[in-house]
């Protein structure tokens, strides 16, 4: 079970302006890139990281663009990726 544990591929706390983030179960991904192509905000890209089977994995290259809409999770045929909304932290000076 541990090998299939979802991992946050972006630090959830790392991008204070982001409304959401994505989580990934690396071992299930087959690198079809549906999540990258159909991400409405273009926050994902295929990265250089590979999993145990040698498939290239998507990466959250623009953590600030992710709004946690879970469109990647809806398209993913392998149940490997999903988005979650995080509590957006207001930065100083923002209303």
């Amino acid at each position: 079970m541990d090998s299939q544990q979802a991992k946050g591929i972006a630090p959830s706390e790392g991008s204070p302006g982001a409304k959401g983030t994505v989580h990934m179960t690396d071992e299930r991904c087959k690198g079809c890139s549906y999540c990258v192509v159909f991400c409405p905000t273009g926050a994902l890209a295929m990265g250089g990281r590979i999993n145990r089977k040698g498939y290239h994995l998507p990466e959250l290259v623009h953590p600030d663009k992710c709004n946690g809409c879970d469109m990647c999770g809806l398209y993913c045929p392998d149940f490997a990726i999903f988005g979650v909304r995080t509590n957006r932290k207001k930065t100083d000076g923002e209303p």
Binding site: M1, Q4, Q5, A6, K7, G8, H23, T25, E27, R28, K30, G31, C32, S33, Y34, V37, F38, K53, Y55, D70, M71, G73, L74, Y75, C76, P77, D78, F79, A80, F82, V84
Partner: protein, 285 residues
């Protein structure tokens, strides 16, 4: 178990069997994703849901969903589901199978289940080919498409599945592609909440066999094609929604009507003939 977030669809899946056998870019997984969300939205308890599959790539769905499911012999998914639906009228029976299984081997079961209006939902993953056995021609392979059994291009006319389902008597008929994930989820929710025989055609890419042989690119290319060449036309006449090879396609909800189900008709007729001595069947306890 750590407290890392879990994928919301994992509740429905047998995660110990993952990663699944479907190829990279296969659309079946996406449809299962929509199905899992539709069950949440339709608010069906898992112990009242039964998934029945036939043989084929789409037939593997029964093995991956964590509800009572049955993987039947080739083409007999609807035959099995008919018995299941009649013996448990309160349960929701879903047949999740492929185009070859439902319409070539199991074609007769399909038309008669629709005619009798058995209370079940049939989800047909149409990827235009027999995926698991090596890319042979199915009744839904479009004209001129190449397959392993038609190397010069298919010369048989294909089925227009929504038209067939409507003509046979289905009460709910819709077609979506796996590009239309939100609409597909909504249609599945509606099909699950509809009493009677509901039919849903889901167009899905098969990059390994159908697209490679026809030089149509990978899964993403096909989903992009679905995006660019589909027109949403709810309530369209099903006689106009036939598919050609890489032709424009009409998607949407085509039929939504009401008819008495098999059980309704049975109970009404028996009551009429036998009078008060008839005890309506309420399912196996």
């Amino acid at each position: 178990m750590s407290d890392a977030p879990r994928n919301p669809v994992e509740k429905l899946l047998r995660t110990e069997r993952m990663p699944h056998i479907w190829c990279p870019g296969c659309g079946i997984g996406t449809s299962v994703n929509c199905f899992a969300r539709a069950i949440e939205q339709a608010d069906i308890p898992y112990d009242k849901l039964h998934v029945v599959s036939g043989i084929g790539c789409s037939g593997r769905v029964a093995g991956y969903v964590n509800v009572d499911s049955f993987h039947t012999t080739h083409g007999r998914a609807i035959a099995f589901a008919t018995g299941l639906s009649l013996s448990r009228p309160s349960a929701k029976v879903v047949v999740y199978s492929g185009d070859g299984d439902l319409f070539a081997i199991g074609g007769n079961h399909f038309i008669h289940a629709a005619r009798r209006n058995i209370d079940m939902t049939v989800i047909c993953i149409n990827n235009f080919t027999y995926g698991m056995t090596g890319g042979q021609v199915t009744p839904t392979t479009p004209l001129t498409a190449k397959a392993s059994t038609s190397p010069y291009g298919n010369f048989e006319d294909s089925f227009n599945l929504p038209n067939l389902a409507e003509a046979c008597g289905a009460v709910y008929v819709a077609r979506w592609t796996i590009y239309h994930v939100r609409q597909l989820t909504r249609a599945m929710t509606k099909a699950l909440s509809t009493k009677g025989f509901s039919f849903l055609e889901v167009l899905a890419p098969c990059p390994t066999l159908y697209q490679r042989r026809n030089k149509l690119g990978d899964g993403v290319a096909m989903v992009q094609f679905f995006k660019d060449h589909s027109t949403i036309k709810n309530g369209a006449s099903t006689s106009e929604v036939g598919l050609g090879f890489q032709s424009d396609m009409i998607v949407g909800e085509f039929v939504d009507r009401q008819r008495p189900t098999f059980m309704d008709n049975y109970n009404a007729r028996m009551k009429e003939v036998l009078g008060d001595s008839f005890v309506p069947f309420e399912g196996i306890k």
